[in-house]
Subunit: 226 residues, 2 copies
DNA sequence: GTCTATAAATTGATAGAC
DNA sequence: GTCTATCAATTTATAGAC
């Protein structure tokens, strides 16, 4: 069922999948012909149809394959136990935003949105492999932080995760999805992560700084983009 | 330049624009033929091409028209001066979410995302007429609230507006854009607006409640969805 | 301006030889 | 499995009569 990345897979199948993925991401599903797919992969159309029953099936397999890759690539590698909470939040935020703003990930998201009316299953698969999986991971992390006493007791980890991720997306995510953000600006990403972490901690931190300290830390963290 | 909604406009032009808009929103740009557009509008293809030079031009005019309509419909009608700040935030949040989650608005957003690779100008026009205009309006409002002393002095109105709107979008906005939210559930919208307002005030309210009061108000405001 | 009829190209998909 | 050659349908767009 899952052919991708395995060494024993037909090289033509790989060539078709990779070439077609690049075409679909660059021009969109509707604008790509099976003729172009075959030409790009260096095979004939008959061979193409020997591997995939049709254009929709090819598209679906590409989306599913990229969802698996997305699910595997998203979780961060750091352990939050070694860091102060604010540093850990910023670190995670930068990691996640850098992943999310990759052109291929934006292109995948765009394709799923464009075709969600015709093929709703793909939209659900994407949502569960992407946003939902990440939110679950963050919620688990935040639940630990509540137990460790670094977040306010009584915090709902799911809600907190949703709000943190929403703060992280900000307008940058909207613009990137609309193709208005050609390359991810590292400084904008860093600023956004710091702003989101500062906001999140203002809501959920177990120990609130006093008013005077608050102003200081917000001066440090709230550097504005653009 | 702007024909829409004016009474002196050719009825056939209107019929074409409205019919084509419905078709594009229902099936996507690529899946709709000019034949179907002409049939739906009750005109011949020759007439269709007499009004619009091609499929792309027709599409662009539909997007621009809907952007204007979106820009006109988004601002809320209430005056925040009559309400306590938390109520005003929730009220605005519900108003904006209800607007944003309309199927037509989601469909417009989807179409722009789907075609932003081919026609980048449309993505920019959409972003400026929609997200950017709303953020500017909210930033203006929040700047007033800072002056009135209901928000923390030193607050950056633009950043605060971005964060409030991000909290409002939450996961519901993502799901709706992916077509996973068939109809906007009024209770989910209301809950999301209350959660966003509570989070926003925890970051930016001028006067913080004491720890004990904080728990109470968060019990009231943080009702979790689904 | 509006129609009918049609051009000209491209589409997704297949038949049959090897 | 892989190719060449081709089908049948559909596509965008236009010519010419009224």
């Amino acid at each position: 069922m899952s052919d991708d990345d395995l060494p024993g897979v037909s090289p033509k199948r790989r060539a078709i999948l990779e070439g077609a993925a690049a075409l679909f991401m660059a021009e969109g599903f509707g604008a790509v012909s099976m003729d172009a797919v075959a030409r790009t992969a260096g095979v004939s159309k008959a061979t193409l149809y020997a591997y995939f029953s049709g254009k929709d099936a090819l598209f679906a397999e590409i989306i599913r394959g990229n969802c698996r890759r997305m699910q595997a690539a998203a979780p961060p590698s750091f352990s939050s136990h070694d860091l102060p909470l604010d540093r850990a939040l910023v670190e995670f935020g930068e990691h996640w935003l850098n992943f999310l703003l990759q052109p291929q990930v934006r292109a995948l998201h765009r394709m799923v949105i464009a075709e969600c009316g015709r093929i709703p299953e793909l939209a659900r698969a994407f949502y569960e492999a992407g946003p939902l999986a990440v939110r679950a991971w963050v919620a688990g992390w935040l639940a630990e932080e509540v137990l460790r006493g670094r977040l306010r007791p009584g915090t709902d980890p799911d809600l907190a995760a949703e709000q943190f991720l929403s703060l992280l997306r900000g307008d940058l995510f909207l613009r990137a999805t609309l193709g208005l953000e050609p390359q991810a600006n590292p400084e904008a990403v860093s600023a956004l992560a710091r702003q989101a972490a500062a906001g999140f901690l203002a809501i959920y931190a177990a120990i609130r700084p006093l008013a005077s300290e608050r102003m200081d830390s917000s001066e440090n963290l709230h550097r504005h983009e653009s």
